[in-house]
């Protein structure tokens, strides 16, 4: 159950998670404002960075896979993400016919 996780002497996971989140935040900022990439590529990359950062925080900060219900919790987050993509991408795709 990850009983060891609370016996760590130093919050490594949190520090790594924090630093990587900062890196991804600034990287996305740079891609959007200074990279000069074409719009579509830019959007794909910053969305990817966002998803990576979100997953990072789920595992590093929130201990999503911890405890007896770890598998259920992880599946729940994966399914939520699927629903989110369907709702967001689905709505944008369906409604794009409106001028």
């Amino acid at each position: 159950m990850g009983a060891n996780s609370h016996r760590e002497s130093f919050p490594w996971k949190h520090i790594i998670g924090f630093v990587l989140s900062l890196v991804l935040t600034f990287a996305a900022l740079w891609v959007a404002l200074s990279s000069g990439l074409p719009l579509k590529a830019m959007i794909v990359i910053i969305v990817l960075f966002a998803m990576i950062q979100a997953s990072l925080q789920l595992f590093m900060f929130m201990h999503v896979a911890e405890s007896d219900s770890g598998k259920v919790q992880t599946f729940n987050m994966v399914y939520s993400f699927f629903i989110a993509v369907v709702v967001v991408a689905g709505s944008v795709w369906v409604m794009q016919f409106v001028l």
Binding site: T25, A50, A54, S67, N76, M77, F81, V87, V92
Partner: protein, 204 residues
């Protein structure tokens, strides 16, 4: 079902040692799944409407990188300090827990202060939520997130009072863990607000 077979002993973190703790924590994760669906709908609405600015200002005309960066750093750091608070809790250190919760809370207040100033600034520029579909969806999406953060601050205060009154018990540990899940979750949502509202708005 394996529940009865497990021995819930001193190796478990405090918040998982009671049946109620385990049920409440799982219940809260599922609630977070529902919140993801909620924010997804708000994002869907925003992404469908954000270029429909009517005669009002566009995102590019309104958003300032500096403000967004400050808000992002405040919230991200508060999520980090919240993690430190739970880390302290798992080592049984009430003083450390309370200290980091207080820091988290103050950073959260800082975030809300900046956000309110941002909103007031827009309103003064004539960009209200009644102005256009873009602005309606912006204020409702970002405002809903801000309302959640504000509620989280209030909730954390209540829990800190209980920690001072009753100390660190399986019950209070469970409450701290759950509010920390809530707080981390709000930062995860902000990652997408930062990306799909502010960054996207500044380039499109």
């Amino acid at each position: 079902m394996g529940e009865a077979a497990h021995r819930y002993d001193e190796t478990m973190p405090l918040e998982y040692r009671t049946e109620e703790g385990r049920l409440n924590i799982l219940g809260f994760w599922i609630f977070l799944g529902a919140e993801i669906a909620l924010f997804a709908t708000l994002f869907a609405t925003y992404l469908v409407l954000f270029q429909r600015t009517g005669s009002g200002p566009t995102a590019q005309e309104l958003f300032q990188v500096k403000d967004v960066l400050v808000e992002t750093l405040l919230l991200l750091t508060s999520s980090f300090t919240c993690g430190l608070a739970v880390f302290e809790m798992r080592r049984g250190r009430l003083a450390g827990l309370l200290t980091w919760l207080l820091v988290t809370l103050l950073l959260g207040v800082g975030f809300i202060t900046f956000e309110i100033r941002e909103f007031i600034h827009y309103v003064h520029e004539g960009a209200t939520m009644q102005t256009s579909a873009f602005l309606s969806s912006f204020f409702v999406l970002v405002g809903t997130h801000g309302a959640h953060v504000s509620l989280g601050i209030g909730w954390m205060v209540l829990i800190m009072i209980q920690l001072l009154q009753r100390g660190l018990t399986p019950k209070t540990a469970r409450k701290v863990f759950i509010v920390s899940l809530y707080w981390h979750f709000l930062d995860v949502v902000w990652i997408f607000i930062f990306t799909l509202v502010y960054l996207l708005g500044m380039v499109v």
